[in-house]
Symmetry: C3
Subunit: 173 residues, 3 copies
């Protein structure tokens, strides 16, 4: 039975890799239902179930990363940002499984296109963020939006592609 139990333990522990840097008081609601590796998570941040955060991604302090979201390599999220459920970041304009020669792509076969989400921005559920963009401070991305351009500070954007429809300073009390 020893081997069986050891195997079960590994299976539960691996989804948070040893190289993840967690600030103080980070809450991960189900550590066996996330996949975090090589990333940095700031203090007091909360992370839901079914979240993947890749290496060389960084999440600030007092953020909330909701269930089913994916934060890829090259994404920097500042403090107090809200990431809704099912939000997908991207870091590649022309993704592919293989090189033009048909061999598997490795880490050296593409350049990560970085994304920045500034302080107190809020990204609605099921939103998709294309590679290489900056989401402004305090901006609000509507649920289901596909963001294809930079978003100004405090802008409210929605739709596919996302367009500015308001300013949070006029809409939130």
């Amino acid at each position: 039975m020893d081997a069986v139990c050891a195997s079960a333990l590994v299976g539960n522990e691996m989804p948070i890799a040893a190289d993840v840097i967690l600030g103080s008081n980070v809450t991960i609601f189900h550590s066996d239902l996330v996949n975090l590796y090589g990333c940095t998570i700031g203090g007091d941040t909360r992370i839901g179930a079914f979240v993947e955060i890749q290496k060389n991604a960084s999440v600030g302090e007092r953020c909330k990363v909701s269930s089913h979201s994916f934060i890829c390599e090259g994404v920097v999220i500042e403090d107090e940002v809200f990431i809704g459920h099912g939000v997908m970041f991207t870091n590649d304009i022309y993704p592919a499984a293989t090189t033009n020669e048909g061999t598997l792509k490795g880490a050296s076969d593409w350049e990560v296109v970085p994304t920045l989400v500034k302080k107190r921005a809020s990204i609605g559920s099921n939103a998709t963020i294309l590679a290489g963009l900056t989401i402004g401070a305090g901006a609000l991305i509507g649920a289901g939006a596909v963001v294809t351009h930079d978003v100004p500070d405090y802008a409210i954007v929605a739709g596919v592609p996302a367009r500015v429809i308001g300013d949070v300073r006029n809409n939130k009390q």
Copy 2:
């Protein structure tokens, strides 16, 4: 080895919390790959993998909740409803990680905006349902739609934002 095994057991059992109320004959295909807490699930309902259902959410009888979907607090789903894959409900118009003062938001810092999905409605995969809406009986929400207004009974809606494009009584045999 005892501590190891006990820990493994907790890890597998916790994703269905003790306060979930399950009707008779509910099927949860992978109980270790869901996150259900404080919710009510009606009899004969089937729930796929990677599903999260929050406290104070209610799913009726003979429903199907497909993989990767998220049903949040404040959502009431009546009987015989189909929820596709990757469907995201929301309960907040202006989501945020922190209060305006920069402290973490707690349960008392926001008001849940309720959503009602009426009997035999069907919600397509990757659809997003904004907060505060009613989806009518028998309505069909197209895959990938972002629903921003109430949907009448038996309406077919699609697109971003979702618009009425038909009536299920004319389209289904």
Copy 3:
């Protein structure tokens, strides 16, 4: 303790069912965080976390299936295809939880509508693919697109519904 350990083992092992046919050198990054059953996965293909692949689905060789994606029964994916994160396939035009008589739908109560993704196509994150379509060889589906019509070989499509916006032979070096 024996029963406890055995149960933990079952919980970890079941998400890859015994009837899955895996080619040589398939990489599944977290075998305890996927749900694969009755499907065929070609050699050298890589599969991320929180992926579900159903029975009678087929994925070719040297593909990449990214996290949070769902590949349903009736989908055939050829070689060297890239599937982004949160991609949802569908196989039913009028999904429903129950028959018109209100009884649970079983396998015999609907006809699977097949989908084909041809060699070297690339499907962006959070894209939704309606049932019954063919995605052409080398085609690029933009992130967040909802694909409602066949996509020609080498076409770039984006939006909701997805429309042709370019040709990969002109856009990729």
